[in-house]
Amino acid sequence: MTLSTTEIFNKICELTEPFNHKSVTINTETTFASDLELDSLAVMDMLASIEDHYDVTVPLNILPDLETVGQVAIAIKSILDE
């Protein structure tokens, strides 16, 4: 079954919730750094839970391009589609 980017986005929002200490309303443009104020360790912690959920590994070289929750959803989608 292929998941849509929206379904992945919704799941990521759910997985991000434990890290959302400021109770920010998350949309695709929400940034991990400025909006959610996550430090680099919390980001990796969250990434681990996303990776575990989808059983994928997000390669290091794309991390610098991921600033928003929406971008992570698109990245997971393309890894799943490969």
């Binding site: 430090d39 680099s40 980001v43 990796m44 991390l63 610098p64």
Partner: protein, 578 residues
């Protein structure tokens, strides 16, 4: 299914880095059956290579580099992944008489421009002419090398294809001497104004001997299990080059894998009976935080005898929590070994005694919060009401001489706080191609002024502050001038308007703060400025800082007009800066 290389090697008597070069050390290790093992993020053995195989591949790479016509002593930038390619290219450069320069990998989300700019500035500062990374990293490496004069930029595969020769064995390798430089280390220092520590073979051997023979006092059944990055001195020297020069088998987990699943480190220690597994304080902290009953089940940490701690300020509360979390898994707190070191001394300077755990001294807050720059002869107070725990970092390795000096460079006595100055074979010959920076910390007669503050009590070293103004977040060093530089780029701010400092967080950990002189009165404008400062700083250090807007001309200056961060920090913590 292959097996990892063994811990024990009855065929090869141990030698403690008593070699003249790293090459001689590898030649010796290659005669045994030990080696290096690389594990996947989920803890499966991905590859295993004996020192004999490492040497064979490194010699071949060395010959290819010579054949390719890379001039002797050229700098070769290597994006330091935790894998065989990095190790073999690092050592291949040695055989070819070139200087490898390990460079960092991305560590978190976002910050693409900051990352490529950092690589660019590092390669530019040492005039690297070759840059090698795994194929998937090449788009980032290409961006970083743009505008630089490079002979080759690519992956190991493309290099080997381009530098091929049917009879590669005929290529002669240069003679490498003990005084030759072995590599450049960029792990400390400002990212905006980088300078690489130049490490000779002689320094490296001296330091590895100190670590193996005196620091950890290697035993036959010792085995390293590490997640530390190879681009950092503690990972490169402590976890890779010391094991090679002292013939120890090592198991590696990539740093990014540890950051996501820290328990894999402990599982690997348990599975392979690791004995020497060191980390900055924050590594122990994230293990305790992520420990859960499922992971703890079946975990056996009783083999672990050297839990070295270094690279950031050592916080006893974190070590206590780690012991509480893992003592039921056999972790013995006597394994904790606080250490002191810095890249300018290759790596290690002092080690606490083995098998005794960490010890603390109690230092009065009044002494610590004073303006230590003036170096008055404070006496450390043993029983003050308000005190801070300062960890004993142990005795100097035998190759060092040390003096604690005051502001007039006069050597101080027992329990007097001053600057830590060191001399010895492990001390760097200088920053590569940067005479000015070298002269600022290294005297003509070989004394290095570390800039760190501490004191000696009963022959043991106690560190009170790392390099005066350095801000260390999650084990990563940040230079205040780099943070101030991005803040002061904002249109309404000017140079000298900000001071980046670290302040204690909820668990006494260092957290970043930036004090900014603000001329605006309007509340909306002020909030807007604060938010932009937060996101600029976040982009380079990965953490959102506390932003404090202070009145114009309120940041303290020294008599020569330079910003005094020490004073700014004290005034802020005392609530005087509003």
């Amino acid at each position: 299914m292959h097996e990892p290389t063994p811990t024990l090697d009855p065929t090869l008597p141990r030698r403690f880095a008593d070699f003249s070069t790293l090459l001689e050390a590898l030649d010796y290790a290659a005669g045994g059956i030990r080696g290096l093992n690389f594990y996947s993020p989920r803890g499966e053995l991905e590859s295993s290579i004996t020192y004999g195989q490492v040497r064979e591949r490194a010699v071949e790479i060395g010959r290819r580099l010579v054949h390719f016509g890379i001039e002797r002593y050229s700098r070769v930038a290597l994006i330091a992944e935790t894998n065989e390619d990095f190790v073999c290219y690092f050592l291949g450069c040695q055989y070819a008489g070139l200087l490898p320069v390990p460079l960092p990998l991305p560590t978190s989300f976002g910050g693409r421009d900051g990352y490529t700019e950092q690589l660019h500035l590092q390669m530019k500062s040492c005039e690297a002419s070759v840059a090698i990374s795994a194929a998937y990293m090449l788009p980032l490496l290409d961006e970083s090398t743009s505008g630089l004069n490079m002979r080759f930029v690519g992956s190991p595969d493309t290099f080997e294809a381009q530098a091929s020769l049917s009879d590669i064995k005929k290529v002669a390798l240069p003679k490498v001497k003990s005084d030759d430089l072995a590599y450049l280390q960029y792990s400390s220092g400002s990212t905006r104004f980088p300078h690489g520590v130049a490490v000779t073979h002689k320094s490296l051997m001296s330091n590895c001997r100190g670590i193996g023979k005196h620091g950890v006092q290697l035993r036959e059944n010792d085995r390293v299990v590490s997640w530390l990055p190879f681009y950092h001195d503690m990972g490169l020297v402590g976890m890779l080059l010391s094991p090679i020069t002292c013939q120890v088998t090592s198991d590696y987990l990539a740093t990014e894998a540890f950051a996501r699943r820290p328990m894999q480190w402990l599982k690997l220690i348990s599975k392979n009976r690791g004995t020497m597994c060191s980390s900055p304080t924050f590594g122990y902290e994230i293990c305790s935080r992520r420990a859960n009953p499922t992971d703890l089940k079946g975990l056996d940490l009783s083999s672990w005898r050297i839990a070295g701690i270094g690279a950031d300020m050592i916080r006893p509360a974190v070590l206590d929590l780690f012991e509480q979390s893992f003592k039921d898994c056999g972790f013995n707190k006597k394994a904790f070994i606080p250490t002191y070191g810095l890249a300018e001394c290759t790596l290690a300077v002092s080690f606490a005694p083995i098998d005794s755990g960490y010890q603390v001294d109690y230092v009065s807050d009044a002494v610590l919060s004073g303006d230590v720059k003036s170096f008055e002869k404070f006496k450390v107070n043993g029983d003050a009401g308000n005190y801070r725990e300062v960890v004993n970092c142990g005795k100097l390795l035998p190759d060092f001489e040390m003096e604690i000096r005051d502001e007039n460079d006069i050597a101080l006595g027992e329990r007097e706080i001053g600057r830590i100055c060191l001399k010895g074979d492990s001390v760097m010959v200088g920053y590569y191609m940067d005479e000015e920076a070298t002269n600022q910390c290294l005297s003509k007669d070989g004394w290095l002024d570390t800039g760190d503050i501490g004191y000696i009590a009963e022959e043991s070293l106690y560190i009170i502050g790392r390099i005066k103004d350095l801000i260390i977040i999650n084990g990563k060093n940040h230079w205040p001038q780099d943070i101030e530089w991005v803040v002061e780029k904002l249109p309404e701010l000017r140079s000298g308007d900000s001071a980046a400092i670290s302040i204690p967080g909820a668990n006494k950990e260092e957290t970043p703060a930036i004090l900014v002189q603000c001329r605006k009165r309007d509340e909306v404008d002020r909030i807007d400025l604060e938010n932009r400062i937060k996101s600029e700083v976040q982009a380079i250090i990965g953490t959102t800082p506390t932003v404090v807007l202070v009145p114009p001309r309120s940041l303290p200056r020294t008599s020569s007009g330079k910003l005094s961060r020490v004073k700014a920090r004290r005034q802020y913590l005392e609530g005087q800066l509003f």
